[in-house]
């Protein structure tokens, strides 16, 4: 976690957000930060006998959320294929190798590549299962088809996204910018957590009646009551979470989202089930199922293996360092002014 960015990178965040639905496509390199401590298939337990899931977990990977279309029905790589794909994808993702004039990755020719490679800390390794996508259901490894409403939103997002990539962001007000750029929600912090450009780290805390899911992105401490209390049914940006144990798996149910989750296109009606299972000392299997009938025609499920890290969570003071949002708005105003002046000159 060498060059973890401590201040906001609005432009970067916006660029990443635009890759939707292939925000997956923006994922790339993992370096496992873990020096495997002891030999470890025995899952440690807390004094009350529950699996001890505590510690810092790193969820960066180059395996995309959605299976790349060109892989068709191929659900798993062989070891050789995984190595080759990983190598190609790392080259493809390397922002320093993309010429804005000709474009590349998801960047159009003549557009803007907002940040160079230095700013990224995405994964560079495929996941251990060598599955070709994080999505395990639908079986084709792709997000389900949009509902009509989901499609309308996705099309609109594609247009505004392309405009931003061409250096013409819609920025009449901050409300035109994504929640990530406004530092309200983290790009990858969830819920649900999805590997992204940087800050792919989360720390879990367990007391007898509470679990805290503390994500590095936008310093979100999601407090999960484990005592069976009812939902309050008040809308919150990161929803309301309730937890329970299903055998050795921590199950967290989240609903009552205020607007959308960090999943591009999702709606307030999202119902989320997350499952955390410690499969060995160094692996936390994170599985989530998204049910959002407003957006997708069926529920879908992804599995992200998280790796134990010895590094601490850094403070990501996003809003406090958010010079980018003011810059984006000021830039849009300056463009308008220039256009007006040009028009005046032209009419003379």
């Amino acid at each position: 976690m060498n060059h973890r960015c401590l201040t906001t990178l609005g432009g970067l965040i916006s660029a990443m957000a635009l890759l939707a639905p292939g925000f997956a496509a923006a994922q790339s390199n993992t370096n496992a930060t873990t020096k495997a401590p002891s030999a470890a298939s025995i899952v440690p337990r807390t004094p009350d006998g529950k699996p001890d899931l505590q510690g810092v977990w790193d969820f960066k990977t180059i395996t995309p959320l959605e299976r790349p279309r060109e892989l068709g029905d191929k659900a798993f790589f062989t070891a050789e294929e995984a190595a080759a794909w990983e190598k190609d994808e790392n080259r493809r993702q390397n922002r320093d190798l993309i010429d804005p004039e000709t474009g590349g990755l998801n960047y159009p020719a003549g557009g803007v590549v907002p940040y160079n490679e230095f700013w990224y800390e995405r994964g560079d390794k495929t996941i251990g299962s060598r599955r070709t996508s994080l999505i395990v259901d639908p079986p084709n490894g792709r997000l389900p088809p949009w509902t009509p409403e989901g499609k309308v939103k996705a099309d609109a997002r594609a247009v505004t996204g392309r405009e931003t990539q061409l250096g013409r962001p819609k920025a009449d007000s901050w409300e035109d910018r994504p929640l990530q750029e406004r530092c309200i929600m983290g790009l990858n912090a969830g819920p649900p957590m999805t590997p992204g450009a940087y800050n792919n780290n989360v720390q879990l805390f367990q007391s007898p009646d509470t679990v805290v899911i503390f994500t590095e992105m936008v310093h979100d401490a999601r407090i999960v009551p484990m005592d069976g209390r009812p939902f309050l049914n008040i809308p919150q940006w990161k929803g309301e979470s309730r937890g329970r144990w299903d055998g050795d798996t921590l199950v967290v149910e989240t609903k009552n989202f205020k607007r959308e989750t960090s999943l591009p296109g999702s709606s307030a009606s999202t119902h989320l089930i997350e499952r955390f299972t410690r499969t060995d000392a160094n692996t936390l299997l994170y599985e989530f199922t998204v049910t959002d009938p407003t957006t997708w025609t069926r529920p879908w499920t992804a599995v992200v293996p998280m790796t134990r890290s010895e590094d601490p969570i850094y403070e990501y003071a996003c809003h406090e360092g958010n010079h980018a949002l003011a810059g984006i708005l000021a830039g849009a105003r300056a463009d308008e002014k220039a256009a007006q002046e040009a028009a005046k000159k032209g009419s003379k």
Partner: protein, 273 residues
């Protein structure tokens, strides 16, 4: 580095003396002499729960009369009068810093970082008018504050070196008897201590003490040391109360969206009418 260490030690020694003097002072706090907190599974005092200060320290650490707020908010925005929480009620500013505090006070209705929903820093996070939750584990204690979704990890076991200056500080804790002692360093100079313009520099060093005084109350104190701003360490102390409501919980107060019009309103597109 060595000087720093020495300063740290003397600061906590001073805090102990002051705390000891206080214990004799009121019958309420003498309970902490005898009260023994329930234990966690690893035998430590159990501080788990949702806590909140019930005072006016966030308006002004020192004893103060009620005063008006922004005109548009009338009585709603006014500051309530309050008893100070500073030992001796004096904050020992160096001369230049005293002038800066005065200026901050004059500009408080626009300059307080709380207005912009910035992270509150320590100790201010503790006595803002919002609850916070302690989630205690053997190696780390999580303190999750409702205001701005601020959070910090207190390292109880192996503490890494602080990687950078931060808004919420770098916290290293230990138990001394029933008291959780937290040493906090690595601050930015961007936070204030209250809405009255009390401030600090990036040399801020805070030693916090959380002592259970009954099942539902803690005694909190913080010794504040900052050689760039204050002539000597000084200490604040106050009770923190457990939120006893059935199903009490820390809710979401993501206040960024409430500050955006104020911060970016001048950059909004003006429509020609």
């Amino acid at each position: 580095m060595r000087n720093w260490r020495r300063r740290t030690t003397s600061a906590s020694a001073a805090a102990v003396v002051i705390a000891a003097l206080q214990i004799g002072a009121t019958p309420a706090s003498s309970q902490s002499d005898v009260y023994k907190a329930p234990r966690t599974a690893d035998g430590k005092p159990n501080l788990n729960g949702i806590w909140q200060a019930l005072n006016t320290a966030n308006w002004d650490l020192q004893t103060h009369a009620a005063r008006p707020g922004p005109v548009a908010l009338g009585a709603v925005g006014a500051a309530p009068a309050g008893l100070g929480v500073v030992e001796g009620n004096e904050i020992p500013y160096l001369p230049e810093a005293a002038a800066k505090k005065k200026e901050n006070f004059a500009n408080r209705l626009t300059a307080d970082p709380e207005i912009k929903c910035y992270l509150p820093g320590v100790p201010r996070a503790t006595y803002m008018p919002y609850p916070f939750q302690i989630v205690q584990t053997p190696k780390h204690i999580m303190m999750a504050y409702e205001y701005a979704g601020a959070a910090r990890t207190i390292f109880m076991d192996k503490a890494p070196a602080s990687p950078a200056d931060t808004w919420m500080g770098h916290s290293v804790g230990r138990f001394e008897g029933d008291t959780l002692v937290v040493d906090v360093t690595s601050f930015t100079d961007q936070t204030w201590l209250d809405r009255a313009g009390n401030f600090h520099s990036d040399a801020l060093h805070v030693v916090e003490r959380y002592t259970p005084r009954s099942a539902d109350a803690l005694t909190y104190s913080a010794t504040i040391e900052d050689p760039k701003v204050f002539s000597r360490p000084w200490t604040i102390s106050m009770p923190l109360y457990r939120r006893l409501e059935k199903n009490a919980q820390v809710l979401e107060f993501k206040c960024v969206e409430f500050a955006e019009e104020l911060m970016y309103g001048h950059l909004r597109k003006q429509t020609n009418r």
